[in-house]
Symmetry: C2
Subunit: 342 residues, 2 copies
């Protein structure tokens, strides 16, 4: 304790902190580099994550949560959104390539991206083909190697459970027509609430004690080395498609991005919780991922120490998750289409 | 409203209820038939579900919950206890035969029994081979067609996550040795808390208004027809092995019970939520299940009306589930054994 105080006093006397600048200068440096915090104000946050076409309400969020956790939205009745985007595991699945219906690995060897803060992404999917969560949610439910459920099957499952019908009426009015698109829109409403403010946000929002000196040093290195060229804005990623897959020798799988060979920059929030890394899930060590990204994208040849400093900062992005009460799902009826394992 | 009051008045005048006896006589009839309620008193309930060898504490329950929801206890990293015993779906999976590692159906075409109230079972597994939840939890984690994880893999996964190690120390003391058996014992502690009191219990415990007249009628028929010969005690099942599998022409699978051809009588609590029915999961309609059981076991040839009355009663057994806050699971390290899909 005595020693810590001495260091602090020495730092104050010298007029510089351990990370070489004042806290407010570091915040300015981060802002200038395009980094933004999750707003502290609930109203500001709502403005950011809400969708005019389908505004967030408590009823929709509760219903969307049930649908998100319901494996009966898959052909087999065994796979839910939460299977690959596990809210207890950083919003991802912790395996290299996603595995779905009939134990099929993703044919492009794609890793499941986190659902947390996905509302902050300007594009969805690794190839960035959809801008909205509403559209994203439609994909994996239908995809053969994921949940493998045709639209009509999903609608038939949901509409034959009176518990769901009652909740859709509560959320959208008695005249509601429960379509596949309304089901996925409602899942997206729930997903819009999955934002995880971290100590990093508290620091950018003006609390200098929210980060340790080591984390502040890491933030400075992160900016100095140019990581913010791609990992910027509120999500520290999710804004652009800069990764030219053709440059990189993929160890597994043939996915090299969209038609231009581009792969979406993923968010770095909760990155500590979402190994393995990269769109092909081939890298299990965060330090290795940082070093490889530097080598491929920035050619700084960062040292082990700098890598460690950046990793220390990245761990401060682990955010507070919304408390999710595990939902009790509606009961099937004799009209509900049966699970189909084939 | 007026009509309902008139009926009630008429019943009072006649001195008998719609179900042919007084409420207190019906409670006595149920008790005489071997039916028991979940105790209202928390202390009495704790006495019932606790285990002297590994007493329930909050720390163990929270840790057990994490382990229960953690797919990294399976070889693939994709299947958790909750996959087949889904706490949002009556504690079961809603499919005929359980499906596990590599999409393998249970080789005996066995249906996943509910985990809710399983602490009230006097025997575990369909063949009744284990008396305790502690022993039961060891089975599916290791079984090839279920979670397929050797003991040592489970221990290595858990002990390489510092978050788990810290929680085991908190639960069992700093000298704790984290063995496979301690992991499954801790899961069992969580499972011991999964008891679901229902309106039926409130009725047996002395609240005559907890059941409707139709439900009381159903309870009376349930007893009169002899269902309580097997579905008795607190669990309305789970106490005996009366079903001689050899009597029954199983449509699928070759499981005919234990060495004596016996299959455990399952609990009827939350039965509305746990279709499909029977140990082979071949029957999707509760009414059909009731009728078939009557035919096979009791030979009453019950009518459609009696079947419906019993089903109405059975739905009153749907209980209040403990509120489960979805757990945030510990983060892996570079030492944690990787998922293995093969």
């Amino acid at each position: 304790m005595k020693r810590m105080i001495s260091v602090a006093v020495a730092t104050m006397i010298a007029g510089v902190s351990a990370f070489g600048m004042s806290d407010s200068d570091l915040v300015k440096k981060a802002t200038d580099a395009g980094l933004k915090a999750i707003p502290q104000s609930k109203l500001e946050l709502l403005k950011l994550v809400d969708n005019d076409k389908n505004p967030i309400t408590n009823c929709k969020v509760e219903l969307g949560k049930k649908l998100y956790f319901d494996p009966r939205l898959s052909k087999s009745g065994l796979i839910s959104c939460n299977t690959c985007h596990n809210l207890g595991m950083g919003g991802a699945d912790g395996v290299g390539a996603a595995v779905g219906h009939k134990w099929t690995p993703n044919p492009k060897h794609l890793n499941s991206p986190t659902v947390y803060n996905s509302v902050l992404n300007q594009v969805q999917f690794w190839d960035g083909r959809d801008p909205h969560l509403e559209a994203q949610a439609q994909g994996p439910i239908q995809a053969g190697p994921e949940m493998a459920a045709p639209k009509q099957l999903v609608v038939d499952r949901v509409t034959t459970m009176p518990g769901y019908v009652a909740e859709f009426k509560k959320a959208y009015g008695d005249d509601v027509k429960i379509t596949f698109e309304l089901i996925t829109d409602t899942i997206a409403v729930f997903e819009r609430t999955l934002v995880t403010p971290s100590r990093y946000d508290a620091f950018l929002n003006g609390n200098p004690n929210a980060l340790t000196d080591a984390e502040k040093t890491g933030l400075k290195v992160f900016i100095d080395k140019g990581c913010t060229a791609c990992h910027n804005d509120i999500g520290l990623g999710g804004t652009m498609m800069p990764f030219d897959g053709s440059k990189y020798d993929f160890a597994k799988g043939g996915f090299t991005g969209n038609e231009n060979g581009m792969v979406k920059t993923p968010t770095l929030r909760n990155i500590e919780e979402t190994a393995p890394y990269f769109h092909n899930g081939n890298i299990w060590s965060l330090a290795t991922a940082v070093k490889q990204m530097d080598k491929i994208q920035l050619q700084n040849n960062i040292t082990d120490k700098e890598t460690e400093q950046i990793v220390t900062f990245l761990k401060s992005l682990t955010g507070k998750k919304p408390n999710i009460s595990y939902p009790q799902l509606p009961v099937i009826t004799e009209k509900t289409p049966l699970p189909d394992m084939n």
